[in-house]
Symmetry: C2
Subunit: 345 residues, 2 copies
């Protein structure tokens, strides 16, 4: 079969997007860019039945209701409910365990924004082709700035629609990131991966035998209710959490990448939300009803209360319930350290 | 009798203090500095029975309930309810018409802040002494900056506890204000006046005979319910509105001033509120429960919703009901021009 199975990961608390992102409805499930949630956008990007089969969704128990609510009513899917968060490697391995070994998985975080879904779709096909040849494939996102917040992938020799991976690089400092951008041949690691389910499990068994064993055991002991699968909590609890990058991608000898330029953003903070939105000619974004007087580069996000602003530059103003956040744009990454996101229920 | 009659003027919409100041509860009646309203503070400043008699309050119909609610329960007073706003000269003349001609009136706007009530009290006595000698006395507030937002009074020869007025000066430009400050002998006109009721009416009759006649007629036709006096609306409506400064003080040959330094502020906008509040060592003011992270010179005023701020400088954040105002401190005077204060009911 030629279809790709989307594996949609619904982790990530999005504390830097507080107060809109809250424990009860975190980042993937709120409308940050456009009229649907990032989760729903991830589902919609993989909805072409000629390219994708039904998605496998991995989430925590807390968000099952939100997921059901936000999926299209006619959508078929399976939902793996993690008993607790253990980072991406166990989540992806669970999904792999639930699939045919030859199934081509496309692992997609549910909390990213992709402005160009056609480019995504094309890259997914290229990645799937390499995965069918038993490569473990990362999307390599074309960098447009010397970003220090992401890991990088250095490309190796050309291969099919992509490259071999020369190496994975940890988040660089500014000077290194600038070198990467100037040199070319480096791409951002956006956490989007394609591989055969069997190959992922095989590599995991090789590099993280304990984790692979525990995942297999947790899945074997799962409780299934229709399309909801709840792995055995005791077995799952034994797993030491680790990212798929550390556990597999940086170790495997079969790492490949497909380059892609698709208007990708991890929407990591309010400044990134601002970048992803269509701004007016002064760089402002605010819904109708708010008033920005002599403002430049200002983002207003509100749950309905009216924001009136005078003479502001480079600020994010976010209103949600009984919380108002005002942050300088270039300090948006510090929002997660405030009391608010760390004291909410 | 030696007592002073406070005449408390409750006009002024305070649109620059929106969204806390609203048509339904404007500037004099909200708690901007301290735990009581500016109106209540004006009443309390004149509450020493050894110096002051019961106040005469002048307000519009819309605020009668607020006034009653905010007065001390044991307070005796009379309340003149203007049928419509006609600026300060008719309001003060109405109060004068309600008093014995020899009564010493002390006209006090209800929407100012005075940090040093003892200095106010002392200046009131000095002004009353001059008023008893038939002078029309202005408080001359010692300037501490080259303010362009107030009218100035240039002092003349020394006389009793004050000076004759050499002349009143319109709001100056910056250079002129700086000259005034450097030269000395200039004080701010804070709209606080003392005179005998009879002298005020005599001078008004001389310089604005029509207004004096209409006020007398409106008061003669007043409807009285207990201590509430409602002048005849038809007669009052005929009056052309004018300030007491233009109508009388700038014309009279008997203008005097008493100098006073009493921590006065007209609380003209949110920056002035910020100045009047006790700031922390970074120049911030926020009630407990808000979080200011790396902020300098920031004012937070909220009706209860939590404000969280990161990396801000020189900003006012004001939250009230469904409105959030964020203004640069030095643009606070422009708040009155926003849609919000001009569209509220």
């Amino acid at each position: 079969m030629n279809l790709i199975t989307p594996v949609i990961l619904c982790g990530g608390s999005g504390t830097r997007l507080w107060p809109r992102s809250r424990k009860s409805a975190p980042k993937p499930f709120i409308n940050l860019v456009g009229d649907t949630s990032l989760f729903r956008q991830a589902i919609d990007r993989c909805s072409d039945a000629a390219q994708f089969s039904d998605p496998v969704i991995v989430s925590g128990e807390a968000h099952v209701a939100l997921i059901k609510q936000q999926l299209p009513s006619e959508q078929s899917y399976s939902l793996l409910v993690e008993p607790m968060a253990r980072n991406t490697a166990p989540a992806i391995a669970l999904a792999a365990a639930s699939l045919d070994p030859d199934a081509i998985m496309l692992v997609c975080p549910s909390d990213h924004h992709i402005a160009d879904p056609a480019a995504f779709s094309k890259a997914a096909s290229a990645a799937a082709d390499l995965a069918r040849d038993d490569w473990l494939v990362s999307f390599g996102i074309a960098p447009d700035r010397p970003e220090t917040g992401y890991g990088y992938i250095q490309q190796g020799e050309v291969m099919g629609g992509g490259y071999r991976v020369h190496k994975f690089v940890e988040k660089p400092d500014k000077a290194t990131a600038e070198q990467f951008l100037a040199a070319g041949g480096y791409a951002w690691n956006g956490g989007i991966f394609a591989f055969k389910a069997g190959n992922l499990l095989k590599e995991l068994s090789h590099y993280r035998a304990d984790m692979a064993g525990a995942v297999t055991q947790a899945f074997a002991g799962a409780n299934c209710q229709g399309n909801l699968v709840r792995p055995d909590a005791d077995a799952f609890a034994m797993i030491e959490g680790e990212s798929i990058d550390y556990a597999v991608m940086e170790n495997t000898a079969r790492a490949a990448m497909v380059p892609v330029s698709m208007g990708w953003s991890d929407i990591g903070n309010w400044a990134a939300v601002h970048d992803a939105l269509e701004q007016d000619d002064r760089g402002n974004y605010a819904a109708a009803g708010h008033q920005l007087e002599d403002c430049n580069n200002v983002l207003v996000v509100s749950d309905g209360k009216r924001v009136s602003a005078v003479g502001l530059e480079d600020l994010c103003i976010v209103v949600d319930g009984d919380d108002i956040l005002v942050t300088r744009m270039d300090r948006a990454q510090d929002v997660g350290r405030l009391d608010g996101p760390n004291s909410q229920k």
